[in-house]
């Protein structure tokens, strides 16, 4: 299996500010690749370079086998883009928007009509096809953007925050469609702030921070790399000071969490034994005891805000 996207030492400068700093990664064909990072980390700049909207100051990028600098038109023929901000023409109807995009891709009118009809039916927009976009709800506009990105049957889909601000139903529909189109062979490059979404959808995730790639791996491996973030939540029948547990050598940190104590540890088994012993010695009863694995959000915060998350 080849690569749908290849990025080598990609760099973008805005004056003295380095928005993207020599990043390198590959996205395999047929993969859903998550691109995570805090605001201003370089996500949108990277997407804009890969979609040929802006030129990099250094490095190379290939999309669908074509160099984004040397063959931008060939790249654009093979991609579909759903940007962060809704950008359909609000003074045109749903149908006119799809026809416009189809024509700009050079598709025959008959083929555009077929694709548009199929997509609008699939995304529940067929009944509003003659409505001006300005009268659509946000969810409908976002679905239309996905239809516009798919009208040319692209090999690679770039989705920049596609479910941001959507109601639960629309967001779920879009996620289902992303999985469906990926199942049909499309590569998806997904930028999102939604950790749960990235966890559910992505085969691999890259975390970008300050213009540099902080980590790339599967969601499971990313979590596994951050086992120091796993913790035990314990509740006794009496209030217990969290500080008592900090003295244990297996405990990294212990903090109160409501009526419970949250104990961060790389060795949950040893700490559980210690807690049971402690309860016996002090005539306490354990009301609840849970071992919590680090969430993708924990990993993300660890990688992007190292200074803030001191364990």
């Amino acid at each position: 299996m080849g690569y749908a996207i290849e990025v080598r030492d990609l760099t973008k400068l805005y004056g003295n500010f380095t928005a993207v700093n020599r990043i390198s990664f590959e996205v395999k064909e047929g993969e859903i690749f998550g691109f995570l990072g805090p605001n201003g980390a370089g996500k949108t700049t990277t997407i804009r370079i890969l979609t040929t909207l802006i030129k990099p100051d250094g490095g190379k990028a290939f999309v669908a086998g074509y160099d984004v600098l040397k063959n931008p038109i060939e790249v654009k023929k093979r991609i579909g883009v759903v940007p962060e901000v809704s950008n359909a023409y609000v003074d045109l109807t749903v149908w006119e928007n799809l026809m416009l995009i189809g024509k700009l891709y050079g598709l025959p009118v008959k083929k555009i009509k077929e694709n548009a009809t199929e997509l609008l039916k699939e995304f529940g927009l067929y009944d509003v096809r003659d409505k001006l976009v300005k009268f659509l709800s946000k969810g409908m506009k976002q679905r239309l953007l996905l239809c516009m990105a798919l009208v040319n049957d692209p090999e690679v889909l770039f989705l920049d925050e596609p479910t941001s601000g959507l109601d639960v139903e629309s967001a779920r529909l879009l996620r289902e469609k992303i999985v469906q189109y990926n199942g049909e062979g499309k590569t998806v490059f997904l930028s999102t702030h939604n950790m749960e979404e990235a966890n559910q959808l992505c085969h691999r995730i890259a975390i970008i921070n300050h213009g540099k790639i902080a980590a790339i791996d599967t969601p499971e491996n990313l979590r596994a790399q951050s086992m120091d973030l796993q913790y035990i939540e314990v509740a006794f029948n009496k209030t217990v000071e969290a500080g008592i547990f900090s003295e244990n050598p297996n405990v990294v940190k212990a903090v109160p969490a409501g009526n419970k104590v949250r104990i961060y540890t790389p060795d949950p088994s040893a700490v559980i034994c210690f807690l049971v012993e402690y309860a016996k010695k002090n005539d306490l009863r354990i009301i609840s005891l849970n071992t919590m694995m680090p969430s993708l959000e924990d990993v993300f915060l660890k990688l992007t805000k190292r200074k803030e998350v001191v364990l």
Binding site: T51, I54, P72, K76, K77, P83, N87, Y89, L92, I101
Partner: protein, 249 residues
Amino acid sequence: MSNFVEQFRCSLVVSRKNIKIYYLKGPVVTFGLIFPLFLALAYLIGRNVPLEDVLPGLIGMTAFFTATAVGPSIVPWETRSKTLERLLCCPVAMWTIVVGDMLSSFIFGFAISVIPLVLTLFFGIQLLNFIILLLALIIANLCFAALSVLLSAYPPTDVPATTMMLSSLVKFPLVFISGVFIPIEELPPWGRIIASFSPLTYFTDIVRLLFINRGFYGLALDFLALLAFLITFTIAAIKIHERTLTKRL
């Protein structure tokens, strides 16, 4: 070559989209229809001058104001609504969009500036050669349309009113120095030098020659100058839009 044809076809698609969306926008109607209409009326009414003497100026003004009405506002509007990014995500080059914007501006200008021409025929006013006038009208409208798209290139703003105001700042002085109100031969030498920097000068000169047989530069030079302005404005518009694109996204 096939790539060029493909891109030019996309320019026509962009142009058709512009016609649908922007022709009836307030600033376009104001600057492209209402304003030239009242300027023409002010120019015509109360002047004891034969119609054929007034027509060259009238046709020149109409073509200039209408062909430059649409162009300045499209890119700022598209920047604001983020649709410029949408267009550029499609397999089109920046020059394709610039040419599309030029064509929509040209069609608006040409369609309206034909009206005084029809009136000419209606009133039975004689002119030397109708085909040459039509050709001049096409090249001049293209040239003015290119100027209007160039005027929207800098500053890279997303406020259409800003480019409309700035373009008015350029357009009005050009009208006054272009022989619309005072024939070029009646201008002082320094006035003639200034007039030679305006594309409208050469169009007005062609129209004057064809209507009242009083041209200053001659047809060949007039056409060459218009073509030179057209090429310069088009290349400048494409290059500046390409350079300022990052600031618009």
